[in-house]
C-alpha cells in the first residue's frame, strides 16, 4: 500500500464520499477546472461533472449562502475556502444563518466548509491564519482540525455525513509534508473525540493540527531528560472531548496546552477553565500554555518563526512544568 499525503487523503475522502452519495456536491473558487489552489479537488470535475463540482465566483457569502440553500434540499455541499482566512468574508452567513438554523427553526444544515489554514509556509497575514476560535464560540457549528492523513480522511468523511455544519480546517503546512499508509476499506474517525498520541506520566500536553508533530518531537527530546509527556491531539475543537482531556490530566496532574492560534481567547483558555472546574484538585502545578503571539501572522520567515510556537518553546515550558 502506497503512502499518501494528507492532501491526497482529503482528496480521497472527497472522491469516495461523492461516489458513495450523489447528494454530495462541491462548491468553491477554482475547484473545478483548476482543481483548487492546492489541487485538493483535482480530478473531481472530470469525474463528477460541472453540476456537482461548481466553480464559484469570488463571493464567499454567495458560496456559503448557496450551499446552505442546497443543504435545505437534502444535499450535502462541501464548500472550499481557497484559504480559510477568507471565511471572514462570510462570517455573518456562517455564524448567523448556517449555525442558528437548526436551533431556531429546526432546519439542519448538513454542509462542510473546508480550507487550508495555518502558518509556517510564509503565506503572510492573510493566508496563514487560524480563525478556528471565532467558530468554536458559535453554538451550532462543529470545528474539526486534524493532524494526520488518516484522521483527515476519516474526519472529512464524518463531517460530510454529519447533519450539522462542520468547519474542517486543513493545516497547509501538513498538506504534503506528512505521509502514511491508509486502510483500503471505508473508515471514519468520529467527530468530538481526541486521541492520545503518546503515553506519558509526568505531564499532559494538549495540542492539535501541525503542532501535534512539533509537540511529539518535543516529547522525544523531553524523554531523554527523563520527562515522560503524554501528548493528546484534540482533533475536534467543538465539541471538545472533555473526557479524554480530564482523564489525561487526572493521570499526570500537570497540563500544558500548545496551539498555533493566538494566545488571547485561544482554546487553551477554555481548556484551562474546564480543568479548573472539573479537576482542580488533581493539579500539581498551574496550567501552562505555549501559543502564537497576540499579533497578526507576520510574513518574513524570521518574524513568522518568532510568531509560531517552536519545539524549543514547548520543551522549555514542559521542563518548567515538570519541575514545578
Amino acid at each position: 500500500m502506497a503512502q499518501v499525503t494528507m492532501l491526497e487523503a482529503i482528496r480521497q475522502a472527497m472522491f469516495e464520499e461523492m461516489e458513495r452519495d450523489p447528494a454530495v456536491v462541491a462548491v468553491g473558487e477554482d475547484i473545478g477546472v483548476y482543481g483548487g489552489a492546492f489541487k485538493v479537488t483535482e480530478g473531481l470535475l472530470a469525474k463528477f461533472g460541472p453540476e456537482r463540482v461548481m466553480d464559484a465566483p469570488i463571493a464567499e457569502t454567495g458560496i456559503v449562502g448557496a450551499a446552505c440553500g442546497m443543504s435545505f434540499l437534502g444535499l450535502r455541499p462541501v464548500v472550499e475556502m481557497q484559504f480559510i482566512d477568507f471565511i471572514a468574508c462570510c462570517f455573518n452567513q456562517v455564524t448567523n444563518f448556517v449555525a442558528k438554523s437548526h436551533y431556531l427553526w429546526g432546519a439542519p444544515v448538513p454542509m462542510v466548509i473546508r480550507g487550508p489554514s495555518g502558518g509556517g509556509v510564509h503565506g503572510g497575514p492573510f493566508h496563514s491564519a487560524n480563525p478556528e476560535m471565532y467558530f468554536v464560540h458559535t453554538p451550532g457549528l462543529k470545528v474539526v482540525y486534524p493532524s494526520t492523513a488518516y484522521d483527515a480522511k476519516g474526519l472529512l468523511k464524518s463531517a460530510i455525513r454529519d447533519n450539522n455544519p462542520v468547519l474542517f480546517f486543513e493545516h497547509k503546512y501538513l498538506y504534503r509534508r506528512i505521509k502514511e499508509e491508509l486502510p483500503a476499506e471505508d473508515y471514519t474517525v468520529p467527530i468530538g473525540k481526541a486521541i492520545v498520541r503518546r503515553e506519558g506520566s509526568d505531564l499532559t500536553i494538549l495540542t492539535y493540527a501541525a503542532l501535534t508533530h512539533t509537540v511529539l518531537e518535543a516529547a522525544d527530546e523531553l524523554a531523554k531528560e527523563g520527562i515522560e509527556a503524554e501528548v493528546v491531539d484534540l482533533r475536534t475543537l467543538l465539541p471538545l472531548d472533555r473526557e479524554t482531556i480530564l482523564t489525561s490530566v487526572k493521570k499526570t496532574n500537570r497540563l500544558l496546552v500548545v496551539h498555533e492560534d493566538t494566545r488571547t481567547g485561544g482554546i487553551a483558555g477554555e481548556i484551562a477553565a474546564i480543568v479548573c472546574e472539573e479537576a482542580f484538585d488533581d493539579l500539581d502545578a498551574p496550567i501552562a500554555r505555549v501559543t502564537a503571539l497576540d499579533t497578526p501572522v507576520p510574513y518574513s520567515p524570521p518574524l513568522e518563526e518568532r510568531f509560531l510556537p517552536q519545539r524549543s518553546d514547548v520543551v522549555a515550558a514542559a521542563r518548567k512544568l515538570a519541575k514545578y
Binding site: 446552505c68 427553526w105 451550532g140
Partner: protein, 528 residues
C-alpha cells in the same frame, strides 16, 4: 436585454423584461381573484390585531408592519406553485398567509409562546417550514436569503425538481453585500429565482436617495445581466401579472428576474417609531393608492362580488383572526429548559434529497473535459444599439469620450464609429517573462534559502552592516525625568474620611491571600 415598455395600469410605467404574450391573458378564476382579496385583507387584519396586542404589551419584542404593502406579499406569493420555495422577509406576513401559514403561527411567534413554530426561540416572522410549505426563515441581517434561495434553485435543478424560488428584500436591504453576492451567484448559475425588491421608500429613517445612486432599483438587474422589471406595488393585479410572467420565465430556464415593486411604508420602521421624518404629503399621496380599496373597487366594478359576498369574506377573516389570537393568548410560554435543546441535529431530522431524476444517470457520469469554454477573448466591444440607423454625432461623441477614458489606441478609436471590433490578436497584451518560477536565477536563489520550522536552532542570515543603518546619532536620554506629580491622587471613595463602606465578609484582616498551589510531597493529586 430585450427592453420593452410595459404600459402601466396606474400611471406607473414599467421598463424591463419582455413579458410573454400569454402573461396578459393569464387569467385568474373568480375564486382566485377573491382569494387575492382574502389574503390581503387577512394580512391587514392580522397586523391590526397585532398592533392592538402590542399596545396591550402582549407582543414580547418588536412589531414590523407591512401596512400598505400587502399587495406585494400576496400578489407575488400567489404567482407560485405549491412545490416552489419562498423566503419571506419581515414585512411579508402576507406571503406567509398565502402559503398557508395560519394566523395563529404569526400571533404565537410574536407573543413568544411555546405553541409557535420556533417554540419561542425566535420572534416576529422568523420561522420556516422546510418540508411542508418550503419556507426558509429569514434572519435580521438583510440580504442573506438571496444567496440561500439561489442555492435552493441551483440544488433543485440538480435534483431534477422544476421549482422556482422567491425571496423579498427592501430598498434598504438591497444595499448589502449579500444582496450583490447572492444576485450575482444566481445570475451566473441562471438560477430559477425571482427576487422581489420592495421599494417602500424608507430604510428605517433613510430615504432611497440617501441610500443609492440609482433612482430605480430595478436598474441594478442590468449589472448582473438579468431581467429587471418595475411594477406598481400597490396594484395587486399588476403585481400578480408581472410576477407570474417572471416565475414562468424562471421555471422554464430563463434565469433570475428582479422585480422592483414601488410602494410605501405607511408606518414607522417598527411600532416604536412614529416616523416623523416622513413628509405628511408623501403619506397622503400613497394613502390615495392604498392597495386594498383599489382592489375592492376593481372587484365591485367587475361584478366579481357584491356587498353580501364581501361581508361573508370579512366575517370569515374576523372569526379566524379572533380565534387564532385567543389561541395565542391562551398559549403557555416555553419551559426554560428548552433553551438548552436543539443546537445540534443529533439524528432528530432525517436528511434525504427528493430526487426527480435518475440517480443512476449520475453514477455513470464521467469523462467531463476539465476545460472552460470561454465566450470570447475579452476584446472591447463598444455597445451601439443595433437598431440605430446610423451613429448620430451625439452617440459618436459619447463613444469617443468613452474610448478616451479607456485609453484606446488611435486605430481602435478610428474603428469605433464603424462598429468594427479589434481582433484578439490586435489587442493581445504582451506579458514580459522573467523573475517567475521558470527563471533559473530566481529558482537558485530560492533553493539557497534555508528557512525551516521547528526551532531547530538554525539561524537566519541577518545582514550586519558595517556601519549603522541610520546616520542619525543614537538617542540618549541624559536628563532623567524628575518632574514630580504635584497633584495628589484622590483616595478611593471608601478610604476617604467619613466613608461608610463596610468591608465584605471576604475582606477580613486575617484573610490573607493563600498560596494556590502546593506541591504534594508524593506527587499525588490533591492540594494541601
Amino acid at each position: 436585454m430585450n427592453e420593452v415598455l410595459i404600459e402601466g395600469r396606474n400611471g406607473v410605467t414599467a421598463v424591463g423584461a419582455e413579458v410573454p404574450s400569454n402573461a396578459r391573458a393569464e387569467g385568474l378564476t373568480k375564486d382566485q381573484q377573491l382569494n387575492l382579496y382574502y389574503f390581503m385583507k387577512l394580512n391587514r387584519e392580522v397586523e391590526a390585531a397585532m398592533e392592538r396586542l402590542f399596545k396591550q404589551n402582549k407582543i414580547v419584542g418588536g412589531l414590523y408592519a407591512s401596512l400598505g404593502q400587502e399587495a406585494i406579499s400576496v400578489g407575488t406569493a400567489s404567482a407560485l406553485s405549491p412545490g416552489d420555495w419562498v423566503a419571506p422577509m419581515i414585512r411579508n406576513i402576507g406571503a406567509l398567509l398565502t402559503r398557508g401559514v395560519p394566523p395563529r403561527d404569526i400571533f404565537t411567534q410574536h407573543m413568544a409562546r411555546y405553541t409557535s413554530p420556533t417554540k419561542g426561540k425566535d420572534g416576529t416572522s422568523h420561522f420556516g417550514d422546510l418540508k411542508g410549505r418550503h419556507i426558509v426563515s429569514p434572519i435580521s441581517m438583510l440580504g442573506d436569503l438571496i444567496p440561500v434561495m439561489a442555492g435552493v434553485g441551483i440544488g433543485a435543478r440538480y435534483l431534477g425538481q422544476k421549482i422556482v424560488t422567491m425571496t423579498w428584500i427592501g430598498d434598504g436591504g438591497s444595499s448589502t453585500g449579500a444582496f450583490h453576492e447572492g444576485l450575482m451567484f444566481a445570475a451566473m448559475h441562471h438560477a430559477p429565482m425571482v427576487l422581489i425588491v420592495e421599494n417602500n421608500q424608507w430604510a428605517y429613517s433613510t430615504p432611497v436617495n440617501r441610500q443609492t445612486g440609482v433612482r430605480d432599483l430595478a436598474d441594478r438587474a442590468q449589472g448582473y445581466g438579468i431581467e429587471g422589471v418595475i411594477v406598481d406595488g400597490n396594484d395587486i393585479r399588476e403585481v400578480y401579472r408581472v410576477t407570474k410572467a417572471a416565475v414562468d420565465r424562471a421555471r422554464s430556464g430563463g434565469g433570475p428576474v428582479l422585480i422592483e415593486a414601488k410602494t410605501m411604508r405607511m408606518r414607522g420602521h417598527a411600532q416604536h417609531d412614529s416616523a416623523d421624518y416622513v413628509p405628511k404629503e408623501m403619506l397622503a399621496y400613497w394613502k390615495e393608492r392604498d392597495p386594498l380599496p383599489r382592489y375592492e373597487k376593481y372587484l365591485t366594478e367587475s361584478g366579481l362580488w357584491d356587498a353580501r359576498k364581501k361581508a361573508e369574506i370579512d366575517a370569515r377573516i374576523e372569526r379566524l383572526v379572533r380565534e387564532d389570537r385567543e389561541f395565542a393568548e391562551n398559549s403557555p410560554f416555553p419551559p426554560p429548559g428548552l433553551a438548552e435543546e436543539g443546537v445540534y441535529c443529533d439524528g432528530c431530522h432525517t436528511i434525504e434529497a427528493e430526487w426527480k431524476r435518475d440517480k443512476g444517470q449520475l453514477a455513470l457520469a464521467g469523462g467531463y473535459p476539465a476545460v472552460h469554454q470561454v465566450q470570447d477573448y475579452g476584446e472591447i466591444r463598444i455597445k451601439v444599439a443595433a437598431s440605430a440607423p446610423a451613429v448620430t454625432p451625439a452617440v459618436a461623441a459619447a463613444v469617443t469620450a468613452r474610448a478616451e477614458d479607456l485609453e484606446l489606441s488611435e486605430e481602435m478609436m478610428a474603428a469605433v464609429p464603424n462598429g468594427k471590433v479589434p481582433t484578439a490578436e490586435e489587442t493581445a497584451l504582451r506579458v514580459p517573462f522573467g523573475r517567475g518560477p521558470k527563471d533559473k536565477a530566481f529558482r537558485d536563489e530560492q533553493a539557497a534559502k534555508t528557512y525551516s520550522r521547528g526551532g531547530s536552532g538554525k539561524t537566519y542570515h541577518q545582514n550586519k552592516p558595517s556601519q549603522p543603518p541610520s546616520k542619525l546619532p543614537p538617542k540618549v536620554f541624559t536628563k532623567p525625568f524628575t518632574k514630580p506629580f504635584t497633584k495628589p491622587f484622590n483616595k478611593p471613595v471608601h478610604q476617604q474620611q467619613g466613608a461608610s463602606f463596610q468591608k465584605g465578609p471576604n475582606q477580613k484582616p486575617g484573610n490573607a491571600p493563600r498560596k494556590n498551589f502546593v506541591k504534594h510531597p508524593a506527587g499525588k493529586p490533591g492540594r494541601t
